[in-house]
């Protein structure tokens, strides 16, 4: 590669599109780093930290998929709520000195790796090889369109999800409280 083509490529990097591509690659790296940390860290608290990092990266990926609303919800719900809940459970239920380290058995590490590798290979090959049909867009998928469809076409599901969340909160309270007085 001679210096002039390198210069033109560096010039392509420092445009709006080039920087967007660079930030996208950083987001992928953040996501995968966090995911690996979440699944291999020795301590559960670090594992939750990895989960948070991974979810922030996933929120960035959602932003690149024309969905800023879902990206914001990802940060609010996962980074804000789910991770804090998991942290609470670790504080309540998993004192570090009692937790045995390492994988669940001598074979579970390699076997899990093989299973995960095969799954990844299969899914990735399927995704790359298939010629996905592209259909014409009906609308732009804006936040306003999401709100309108949530309250018209999907209003029943919307209400059902709120009932599910209510029952989940009540069930969690009952499960965690039972046997507490004894």
């Amino acid at each position: 590669m001679n210096s002039s083509s390198l210069m033109s490529q560096m010039h392509a990097l420092f445009t709006a599109d080039g920087l967007a591509g660079l930030i996208f690659i950083i987001m992928i790296a953040v996501t995968l780093f966090g995911a690996l940390l979440a699944c291999t860290a020795k301590r559960l608290v670090r594992s939750v930290a990895g989960l948070v990092i991974s979810f922030i990266g996933v929120a960035g990926i959602y932003y690149y998929l024309n969905s800023p609303f879902v990206a914001m919800m990802q940060i609010l719900i996962y980074v804000g709520a789910v991770s804090v809940t998991i942290t609470f459970a670790i504080m309540l239920a998993a004192p570090e000195q009692n937790t045995k380290l390492g994988p669940a058995g001598p074979l579970s590490g390699p076997l899990g790796f093989i299973v995960a590798g095969l799954t990844f290979g299969g899914l990735a090959t399927l995704g790359i090889r298939t010629a996905w049909p592209v259909m014409a867009k009906l609308n732009a998928g804006t936040v306003k369109a999401i709100g309108v469809q949530l309250l018209t076409e999907y209003s029943l599901v919307f209400e059902l999800v709120s009932v599910v969340l209510l029952i989940a909160i009540l069930g969690a309270l009952i499960l965690a409280r039972s046997g507490r007085s004894s």
Binding site: C39, L44, K137, N139, A172
Partner: protein
Amino acid sequence: MLMSVLTLHNHLTTYLVIGALLFAIGLYGLVSRRTIIGMLIAAELMLAGASVNFMAFNRFTAPDPVVGQIFTLFIMAIAAAEAAIGLSIVVAIYRNYKSVDTEDLVKLKG
């Protein structure tokens, strides 16, 4: 070469591979973790991988780009409910067994 790397975010396959990777990492964690909380964390990663897949198809192939976003929002709500229930079960298990290690929870074994 650099140009093709910088335009990765305009291709459906990039997102499909990321989703598959997240799913596979979550699967590895689910199989190899020894505490229930670790398995729950891995399950959250698998859900994130599935959501990325939905959002990718929503952006690139689906005719109505609202449906996939709403589906992902519902996945988030169900995952939050799942985390709340699962973690309260973990707390209840810890109260009865004084452990969250899967090897200590074999009382239900036939």
